[in-house]
Amino acid sequence: MKKTRLSYGIAALLLSLAVHGSIAGQKPAPNEVTIDNFSYKPQTLTVSVGTTVTWINRDDIPHTVLSTDKTTIVSPALDTDEKFSYTFTAAGTNDYYCSVHPHMKGRIIVQ
């Protein structure tokens, strides 16, 4: 019982670090894409099948995540600090962009 509580404690600490690190503009957490300064970071992210990727908007301007095929990934407009998640169920390359600022482009490679 005590061991379990300790594990929860460590997990909470790690989660807190991850969240804090992201806010500070450091490296995004695994499977997270930060939208900052009108760009997706990392611009290319490689994940395994079944992974849920989360985008979080750190800009003062709304952005979206839209597949170039305009059907696979379709997020609503994300205001500041809003998040959007998508689970990739098939291997392949997923190119996407911001439908509001189409010069912003990103890629998720699913293996």
């Binding site: 003062d60 609503p76 962009y97 509001v100």
Partner: protein, 319 residues
């Protein structure tokens, strides 16, 4: 006239000093007047203070842009307040403008309440007639359906339309929908077809004013400041003697003359954006609170008889 820059269609364009001055300028509105087929713009503060006097009997109208109602971040926590100041300045003009043009980004997030607030503030303007085009912030999540229902009932397609006033032909275009990955603003095939047909029957001496949200000339493609198929649209306007293109989107004034076409972008009433390439991104620029009103503005237009020239006078909300 101090602070006035003459667009001379017979020469290459504006002088360097004037260009730099306009680059630095940000105000709250511009009065445009049309007289004898020539468009002229005045900064509102100069008009109100009597330093600039638009010709009497000329058509004058005001362009406002990028009010971003709903924005509440550091760059301006009171966008309703600054829009109100812009309206107050328009109401203080000695000669009321015939109408307003709003060149898009009425709202920040396309929310019904944001459009409601904008409508409420504009009700306080003496000029009751307002012609709109949407910005990308007005068509979020629904491809512009709500915008069209509110502001584009008389419009075609996604919200484009034209109208005539005192012999001037005005064309409102939509370049914020169906944007392609890696691309810029887009007008699209249907709108281009409509535009070609719309101006077909007009005499070449008809003054043309085109207004749209994203610039119809390539200002800075790295930040998406341009329109992919604008050259096609402008090709339909080459035969006209006087064409003026009014845009918003970049939250700063910039101007260019190319042949018979004069391009002008307006300031925002909400927050400034950096000059092209001077920041890591085109996001809202934070300036000290006491300087904010010096980088927000509106635009007045005026046609002057006899000369094929367009003049611009700088006009911040507060100096």
């Amino acid at each position: 006239m101090r602070g006035e820059i003459i667009y001379d269609h017979n020469h290459d364009g504006i002088d360097r000093r004037g260009f730099l001055k306009c680059m630095a300028w940000a105000g709250t509105g511009v009065l445009w007047t049309v007289y004898g087929g020539v468009l002229k713009s005045y900064g509102l503060d100069k008009v109100i203070s009597g330093q600039a006097a638009p010709a009497k009997g000329a058509l004058s109208f005001v362009q406002i842009s990028d009010s971003h109602i709903g924005f509440s971040k550091e760059a301006n926590k009171d966008v309703v307040g600054t829009l109100q100041v812009a309206i107050d300045r328009i109401n203080a003009l000695p000669t009321p403008p015939a109408f307003l043009l709003h060149t898009g980004d009425l709202s920040h997030l396309s929310k019904a309440g944001e459009f409601d607030t904008l409508d409420q503030v504009l009700k306080g303007c003496k000029a009751k007639d307002v012609h709109y085009v949407p910005g990308e912030h007005d068509v979020l999540n629904d491809n512009g359906k709500q915008y069209l229902a509110r502001y584009g009932k008389q419009a075609r397609g996604d919200g484009w339309y034209s109208f005539d006033y005192n012999g001037v032909h005005f064309v409102g275009l939509v370049n914020v929908l169906n944007l392609k990955a890696g691309g810029l603003g887009s007008l699209g095939h249907n709108q281009l077809e409509w535009l070609e047909d719309d101006v077909k029957g007009l005499g070449s001496d008809t003054p043309i004013v085109v207004f749209a949200h994203i610039p119809l000339w390539t200002v800075y493609p790295d930040w998406g400041w341009g329109t992919d198929d604008s050259a096609q649209a402008l090709s339909y306007l080459k035969r006209f003697g006087s064409v003026t293109v009014l845009n918003g989107h970049i939250h700063q004034t910039m101007q260019k003359v190319e042949g018979n076409i004069a391009f002008h972008t307006a300031m925002s009433t909400a927050f400034p954006q950096p000059a092209p390439g001077t920041a890591t991104s085109p996001g809202p620029m934070k300036v000290p609170a006491e300087k904010l009103r010096s980088v927000l503005g509106i635009t007045d237009v005026n046609y002057v008889q006899g000369k094929s020239s367009l003049a611009i006078i700088d006009s911040p909300l507060a100096s």
